[in-house]
Amino acid sequence: MRGYLLRRLPSALLVLLVASFAVFAVLRLVPGDPAAVLAGPDASAETEAAIRARLGLDEPLPAQYLRWLGDLLTGDLGPSYAIGGQTADLIGDGLGATVELTLGALLFVVVLGGAFGILGATSRNRWVSTAVRVLTTGALSVPPFVTGVLLVLLFSVLLGVLPPGGRVPLLTAPDLGVQYLLLPALCLALPSAAVLGRYLKDGIERALGEDYVRTATAAGIAPRRLLWRHALPNALPPVVTLLGMQTGNLLGGAVLVEAIFAWPGLGQLAEQALVRRDYPVVQDLLLLLVTVFVLVQLLTDLVHAWLDPRIRWE
């Protein structure tokens, strides 16, 4: 395995190097620069030049690129140009908030999707099955920016039971944090929960139609045991695969939900940094994303190689 890992590492590092160059170059090709943003709309050329020199933007581009790479290698991401504070702190805080939101949403996806699927597949009550169908269709077809506003209107403005936005970190104050998390997590989770619920419903219905269920029923096994011990486990594998895919969607969807609920996650940070041309923050964020994908790919390759020894010898 070690040999296989050593063979795979150079290509992963090369991908990261190429990505870093692409990220750096693309940002410089975008019109507008941090010095102009920081100078403001009433600045003189002298002010803009002074700010450009302070940020090191007057250096040749290759020198700027190498300086950035050097900083990365030493683990010093440096200060943000426009937002303020240290880039590493900004990304760390944003990442924590986004992961918290995504995990909260994932919990809702599992609970709501599971409930939709099981109720939809097993209920003989016409009203219940119709309600599940309407709910899943609604959750799937209404976009999060509408759902978000409706949830705020209902739970914050009309009922006044949950805050309409903001964040208190769960680890700092769990009792407050969970209340801030509920609405954005639910808003983010609804479409994925609907998809999951439909897959689960189909899976359970298919499993319940299998011969072994008929046999088990004839043998007198209780319906509930039949569902939980036999049908559900057989329906779950494709649903778990889907859940993995939906996790990626949740991370992507978090950007929009963060804006609706003033949730200070990576999406908000990326938007703020891009608008202000905060090169260090945007560069490091994009490279972080690429790194995550490269690592996941590497990990997948390693798992495949571990499972199938032939791959290691190819």
Binding site: G32, A49, A50, V152, R277
Partner: protein
């Protein structure tokens, strides 16, 4: 018929479902009952309010953009925190008369080339260091530094000498008389000279103001606590203030409606109608305005180098419609940059260009231009886009086809200060709310020496320079202001459209909140009333 062994197990009976739902609700209820409520936490100050000013309480301000430490010394989109942490030398009253703050009195030399300031004694910074004349000298020199990007840098640069007379008296010597020195004194925050680099990095703000910054979470907000050693006796009343960054307009509205936040200056005009009916909120408007939307014209591009064409555009725009549709009626349709608080404001000048498509077409025809096709750059944010679309519609009615060029803010700003705008653009400007000369020497679109419109005129330069160096009151000052206004209207290189309202939305129980002329939030007297 009863099925003994149904092929499709129903699994969840009604009883089971109800039991599960009841159990879940109970668990959730038990879990939350022992905890604080995020909603009541936010509403706590209002709930405890009494009828008269009292000490204590915390309230939350909703801001739609975060504090930018690197722009601490410039007027940026969000300057509210400046007067919480810091003081200025003076504060303007409603008639632009300076009132004492860190400077207790002042006296101009007869030739207008120096001013003697008496400074307040017994003032200390948050870290305990006493405030002295050296801090004022540093503050002026700091603003002269181009790195600080301060809009009033040209006025600060006019101060060329300092003469200390003890720790609390200072003579500022001027290269030439300027009549907007008190604008500078209202604008210039007095920072701690030993930690200014920490301040622009956002690490530490050390001032003499009524509140200390205890925490800044980028993208989330700021927390302030009362400065127990504030130089104003018994002030401030409040224990603490929170700023919460809420960029999205709908989220901002919800936070105000639910009482999660109690004060905001960032609600878009067209959304104010939603809040106007709320009995728990009070909407008020400052006469200074909140900057102005204008149509910029590149005077080097044909046919916009023809003054008659520019004037035709000015006649062709329906400013009242923009005010109503884009700003929700909060603001002032105006052909000049001056808000009502400005000494240069006049009703005649404000209504110099009204909506007269017939006259606009006539002017274009007389100039020999029909069927014009012009590009118009605008920032791709909702408010700016709405203004650009309104201009596009109006100009189409007079036979000018406008192609919109939506542009992100950073690129637009780059184009603005590098003089690389297309024929037309719409943006916003400030600095018309104080001495009129400040607009002409500090706001780039109006700058006589260099501006985005590439407009140069010896007459404009002369009048601006003279207006800047002539004492700010009296017949001569009024005549010079009128000349600037007349030049702006006649040359129409900047076509003012509407002055945005500076609108405060506050919880009914919140009292004593004010803004200075540069939108610094003053909470010295703020308190919660019953």
């Amino acid at each position: 018929m009863t099925e003994l062994y149904p092929t499709t197990p129903t699994a969840l009976s009604r009883r089971t479902t109800l039991r599960a739902a009841g159990g879940g609700t109970l668990l959730l209820g038990l879990g939350l009952a022992g905890c604080r409520s995020a909603v009541s936490e936010a509403e706590a100050p209002g709930a405890e309010a009494t009828a008269k000013p009292r000490r204590g309480g915390t309230f939350t301000v909703a801001v739609n953009s975060d504090f930018t430490p690197s722009l601490l010394f410039a007027q940026s989109g969000q300057s509210l925190q400046q007067r919480l942490v810091y003081n200025t030398l003076v504060r303007y009253d409603d008639r632009l008369e300076p009132q004492p703050e860190l400077a207790t009195s002042w006296e101009y030399a007869k030739d207008g080339r120096s001013i003697t300031l008496k400074l307040r004694t017994g003032v200390t910074y948050h870290d305990g260091r006493p405030f002295t004349a050296d801090d004022v000298i540093f503050a002026v020199k700091n603003l002269q530094n181009p790195l600080r990007a301060a809009q009033l840098r040209s006025t600060a640069a006019a101060i060329t000498g300092f003469e200390k007379r003890g720790d609390h008296e200072l003579v500022l010597k001027l290269a030439h008389p300027v009549n907007n020195l008190f604008d500078l004194f209202e604008f210039m925050i007095i920072t701690d000279r030993n930690s200014v680099e920490d301040a622009v990095a956002g690490r530490k703000l050390n001032g003499t103001g009524p509140f200390k910054l205890t925490k800044w979470s980028p993208g989330t907000g700021l927390s302030f606590t009362r400065n127990e050693k504030y130089w104003q006796p018994d002030r401030p009343y409040l224990d603490a203030v929170e700023f919460r960054v809420i960029a999205q307009a709908d989220a901002l509205l919800s936070s105000l409606r639910t009482g999660q936040t109690q004060l905001s200056y960032g609600v878009p005009g067209r959304n104010l109608a939603t809040l106007a009916a709320d009995p728990e909120l009070v909407i008020s408007e400052y006469s200074t305005g909140g900057g102005a939307h204008y149509l910029g014209v590149n005077t080097t591009v044909a046919p916009l180098n023809d003054k008659t064409v520019r004037q035709a555009l000015a006649w062709g725009i329906d400013r009242e419609r923009i005010l109503k549709q884009v700003l929700g009626g909060y603001g002032l349709a105006s052909a000049t940059p001056w808000p009502k608080s400005s000494p240069a404001f006049s009703e005649a000048a404000r209504t110099h260009y009204t909506h007269d498509p017939g006259k606009a077409r006539e002017l274009l025809k007389s100039a020999g231009h029909t069927g014009l096709d012009l590009p118009l750059l605008h920032i791709n944010l909702p408010g700016d886009t709405a203004v650009a679309e309104a201009v596009q519609y109006d100009l189409k009615q007079i036979g000018v086809r406008v192609t919109l060029e939506p542009t992100d803010p950073a690129t637009a700003q780059k184009n603005l200060i590098s003089q690389s705008m297309p024929g037309l653009w719409t943006m916003s400007h400030g600095f018309a709310q104080v001495q009129p000369s400040t607009l002409a020497v500090s706001a780039y679109p109006f700058n006589e020496a260099k501006n985005t419109s590439r407009f140069r005129s010896a007459a404009y330069t002369k009048v601006v320079r003279e207006a800047w160096t002539t004492p700010g009151t009296g017949a001569r000052a009024n005549a010079l202001r009128q000349q600037i206004t007349d030049t702006l209207l006649d040359e129409a290189f900047i076509i003012d459209l509407v002055i945005r309202g500076s609108v405060q939305v506050a919880a009914k129980k919140l009292r004593g909140v004010t803004l200075n002329k540069f939108s610094y939030l003053n909470l010295d007297d703020a308190h919660l009333a019953g």
